[in-house]
Subunit: 406 residues, 2 copies
Amino acid sequence: MAGASAAIWIPQPVKGYRAAEVLSGGPAGAEVDDPYAAKPGISKWDLDTPALCLDLDKFEKNIATMQAALKKLGTPSRPHAKTHKCAAIAKRQMATGSIGICAAKLGEADAFLNAGIGQVLMTTSNPSPRKVRHAMQLRKKHPGFIQAVDEEQNARDLSAAAKEAGVVADVVIDVAVGTRSGIPAGEGALALAKLIDTLPNLKLRGMLSYDGGVQHVKGFEARKARALKTIEANAETFAAMKKAGLNTEIFSGGGTGTYNIMHLVPGVTDVQVGSYIFMDMQYIPIGSEDGSEVYKEFEPSLTVTTTVMNNRFPGVIATDAGTKALTLNKPNPGVIGEPGMDYTAGSDEFGTIKFEKASKDYKIGDKLDVIVPHCDPVVNLYDQIYGIRGDKVEVIWPITARGKSQ
Amino acid sequence: MAGASAAIWIPQPVKGYRAAEVLSGGPAGAEVDDPYAAKPGISKWDLDTPALCLDLDKFEKNIATMQAALKKLGTPSRPHAKTHKCAAIAKRQMATGSIGICAAKLGEADAFLNAGIGQVLMTTSNPSPRKVRHAMQLRKKHPGFIQAVDEEQNARDLSAAAKEAGVVADVVIDVAVGTRSGIPAGEGALALAKLIDTLPNLKLRGMLSYDGGVQHVKGFEARKARALKTIEANAETFAAMKKAGLNTEIFSGGGTGTYNIMHLVPGVTDVQVGSYIFMDMQYIPIGSEDGSEVYKEFEPSLTVTTTVMNNRFPGVIATDAGTKALTLNKPNPGVIGEPGMDYTAGSDEFGTIKFEKASKDYKIGDKLDVIVPHCDPVVNLYDQIYGIRGDKVEVIWPITARGKSQ
């Protein structure tokens, strides 16, 4: 601690690299294998903060776990890309056994199709004529695009737009659970499927049915009971479609909370799992099939690193990651290694941590790593995600569809 | 309603233009006066949704109202640009009497300085050596850049980085209200100011002191009483700085809730108002100086237009604007013209409206316009803001510092 250097306080390791500084680009003039590779040797703790970080070992393990489980259960994954909005991640899902991806918004579907993901199922209907037309233009360019529809007039509009685009477009009916989107199960849904079957420029591929509400039900048995109950009428509609001789090659549904339940529903072909790659504070407490209270099949791989801004007051720390970096979702962000800390992201620009006990004395400039409250809307706040191996930055992936909420 | 067209349901007016389609760009090869001008004649209701819209008449009136009021009070505005993150808006503030803008994050300050806004006060200290160095590089390029500092070592680091950059850098001390950021008022703050005065590469310009908590206190008199009380110690510190012969040309503070209170604090030179240009559901109920319960000096100019996705169930409407389009802030988004509607943006991709009474029968494809819950984090979700005159799109401004939370 002696000498001139002691006069200048240099926190270690807080170099604070920004994304452009971390990207490799390779040696001048070189062909770069991976345009998203990082310069070698840069520590996660040297990134400018708040930084969205992905633990690649955990991420890859999560993908492998899901692919192996679904292979055994006979229901492959069609992961929902609204979670990650990242083409590089979608490519890794496709390369390991997923049969396609899902998109929630047309702008998202467009971004993924243009980024080279061929198989995209748009899980929401398009409520405007212009979106209908845009969807059919996408279908013309990308034969692997499938569009959900939940209303008869919308089906007619799609068929007209498909005709205009010169295609016979693939569609599935979206059958509702709850009151958010989709046509209710039963006669109306069957009639919609039959109508589509008669429309000249649409090809019925089957149905989808997603129950968002059941995904976070705590306790596996409670979740299973509810999931099997809420989908009952929809499964009957699916059976009726089959009986009517309609095409039923797709019955897509489920999510990270029900990936190991949906195979019990007669006819289900694939699951739209999303959060399993990242996990978050909302999924951790839902519990596993073996009765454990923690959902342990998948490990939290997605974190935001943040820097301590203020440590002046006992029991309180201010950080640089607030609402604009972590959202207001609950439960609160989880500070890794500090179970005694309660992190609130209620301020736009600042995080506030309250604690009675901490593992060390935090100084201004120190870094903390927090598990995000709810992965989807947090990812949507960032332009890139840093892929970390050990504690070194390996890749910087653009969030391809960031902000595409249209 | 007769004829073939009745068979195809064409909702009016829902053309669904995307931003790139609306931008004028002018005739081929032409010099364009305003690169952000829209093609003429496009209705706000024809935009793809969710769309972030700014009523330009109200926006301009809000700016004029604030500039006139502050001129009278003798405390010009140094608007906080964390609210709008938009260089086009900052330019309009500067052109109408603002003496500079504020930035909350260094990435934000960088974006505004590079967009040609010369006078930027960075209101937060920089907690890492790399940010300190980056700040001083900005100062070298942009003499109008002023950096806040709230800690002695940070001041020494800044001076060292300023020396390295070959500049004498302008700084203000940030004096705390509460425990979030800033040095507490009193001896410590005075000592920090004195230290800065002795550091070879820093020039002390004064102090800033922002009370975020008081801005939304309901009732003008209650707000005034609290604002004047919380700043008392800070004003004493400011007086002590003056008495000590330090440079006190800046005493910046206040916000939209206290713009007409801060001139009562001895020494205050300017106010850091932000939300007044937009307003939001958080500011509307704070009340005006004349005792009215609604904050009526400024009109809500910022809305998100959204499209009805589902109207199947009585008393419930689903829309296409959820958390990713409106955030989870409270109070809930306010549906314009529908006081009986309660809008929840709790789903990532969907809004849910519950109502007993509505002014009309809403159909799929119909549009609604909602006042945002809290303007700052909503703006941060979008790449552009549509400037609307009457109901026509006039300009499409990029959100220059969108996502710059570092």
